[in-house]
């Protein structure tokens, strides 16, 4: 929503800035103290984990921190896998090509062609494929040891992709027929006209405001919460096993088991969120190009 009201968003940031920085400093100090003195209090996960220290180009607008590097890694991985996978495609596929085809067909057949049909499916396939694999790969970094945070757990990727989805379905509708698009989205057929007084504002808000917001928040929150949960479980394990030790090691085993199960769960979430994001985009495009709905 912040994006829809740029002035407000700028004001909010300006207000938040000094406070943020002092808190960051306090937290950094806190962290240093913790590691050096090994105190006995429990340190839970913090939202600051999503704002790691900037490594390069600080303050230029091209700042690079750990999460940005993880995103680059995800992009490189995708480029390498798909470049190698499609470099020399054969009519009779090998094992690796089979996997690549399965992945690409998942988007092509199950989302693009099922919802949009052959023609529109093919038109919007590049966007949908990009969305699916970008979201999935950046989600899955959340459970890859050493990376341990999803590239989508910072608002940039969800927001950018949601806006692209937003622009795409509006473009699809307007390109097809502007009048029909706005009539269908704002004045749904089969409703007596006085009801439009209520329905039209609701439709306006739900179609043009709620959609991108929910797309962004659904993905972002899933990834943030997933990460916080994992950190919570593993930090607790560390606290029980290393800091308290003794009988608490049993509790540590329990929290570790939870952490492990949730790690598996996060794989599912990573796939599911990528699927939902792409599928919803396809549905929005379908609604925009539909003759009547």
């Amino acid at each position: 929503m912040a994006v829809l009201h740029p002035p407000l968003f700028v004001v909010a940031r300006a207000l938040l800035r000094p406070k943020q920085e002092s808190a960051l400093l306090a937290n950094a100090v806190n962290l240093m103290v913790q590691t050096s003195t090994d105190d006995t209090s429990f340190h839970g996960p913090s939202i600051l984990e999503f704002f790691p220290d900037v490594i390069l180009f600080e303050g230029t607008g091209f700042d690079i921190n750990r999460i940005m590097l993880i995103r680059f890694l995800a992009v490189i991985a995708l480029v390498v896998v798909f470049w190698l996978g499609t470099r020399n495609m054969k009519v009779v596929p090998g094992k690796f090509q089979n996997l690549i085809e399965m992945a690409l067909d998942f988007v092509r057949v199950n989302m693009a062609e099922d919802l949009l049909g052959k023609v529109d499916g093919k038109r919007f396939l590049p966007i949908l494929t990009t969305m699916f694999f970008m979201v999935f790969t950046m989600n899955i970094t959340g459970i890859i040891p050493g990376l341990n945070i999803a590239g989508t757990s910072v608002i940039g990727v969800p927001l950018v992709l949601a806006l692209i989805s937003y622009v795409t379905f509006i473009y699809a509708g307007i390109k097809k027929s502007p009048a029909k698009f706005f009539k269908n989205s704002l004045f749904p057929a089969g409703v007596p006209w006085p009801v439009y007084i209520i329905v039209t504002p609701i439709e306006l808000i739900s179609t043009f405001i709620i959609r991108p917001v929910t797309l962004t928040l659904r993905l972002l929150m899933n990834m943030i919460v997933g990460h916080l949960l994992l950190v919570l479980f593993f930090a607790a394990t560390q606290f029980f096993v290393v800091t308290l030790s003794g009988w608490f090691i049993g509790l540590g085993a329990v929290t570790f088991a939870f952490g492990f199960v949730f790690t598996l769960f996060e794989i599912l979430v990573a796939l599911l969120q990528a699927y939902v994001f792409t599928l919803l985009t396809a549905v929005y495009i379908q609604l925009a190009v539909a003759e009547e709905h």
């Binding site: 994006v3 909010a12 600051l48 091209f62 396939l125 970008m134 608002i155 928040l217």
Partner: protein
């Protein structure tokens, strides 16, 4: 979920995860554009080409299979036709053989008949000739006998051949004439 986050944010950390940093947006866009180009210009066209080739290959194979099927059917038809023809030919050969056999038998029978007739004819001719010869010799003998008998009866030798012969001839001629008359 959001409440918990806001609470967590308010607790000590003061960064709002809903407010995007410029670099965050910039790098997200860069990532998206790179991946879009990758999929749009490289991966999906290759996939498309491959799928088209696969379709063509499958269609080609189906056409080839159809062709093979057609050829097999044609060969079978030809074979069946040949078989039928051979069977017919065998039949006709058998038929002609039977015919020939019949003809040969008939010819043989004919020949046999002709031979038999010929044998019969020649036998009859011989018999006739012998009869004639017998007749002639009989006539002479009967004449001689009759003359001898008559000579004995009348007691005189009728050895005058010329007269005897004339008497016999006359007698025989009378006999023949009376035979003819009775006939």
């Amino acid at each position: 979920m959001l409440h918990a986050l806001v609470a967590a944010a308010e607790e000590g950390a003061t960064r709002n995860p809903l407010l995007p940093e410029t670099y965050d947006i910039v790098w997200s866009l860069v990532c998206f554009v790179i991946l879009l180009v990758l999929f749009w210009k490289l991966v999906l066209p290759k996939m498309q080409t491959m799928l088209e080739e696969r379709t063509a290959a499958i269609e080609g194979n189906i056409a080839k299979a159809d062709e093979a099927q057609r050829q097999a059917e044609a060969a079978l038809e030809q074979y069946t036709a040949q078989l039928a023809e051979a069977r017919q030919e065998a039949g006709s050969i058998r038929e002609s053989a039977r015919e020939d056999g019949k003809k040969i038998v008939a010819e043989a029978r004919n020949q046999a008949t002709v031979e038999a007739q010929r044998v019969t004819a020649s036998a009859q001719a011989q018999i006739e000739a012998e009869r004639q010869a017998a007749l002639v010799s009989l006539r002479t003998e009967v004449g001689t006998l009759a003359i001898d008998l008559a000579g004995n009866v009348i007691g005189e030798t009728l050895s005058d051949d010329a007269r005897a012969t004339a008497i016999v001839d006359r007698f025989l001629a009378d006999l023949e004439a009376s035979e003819k008359a009775t006939n």
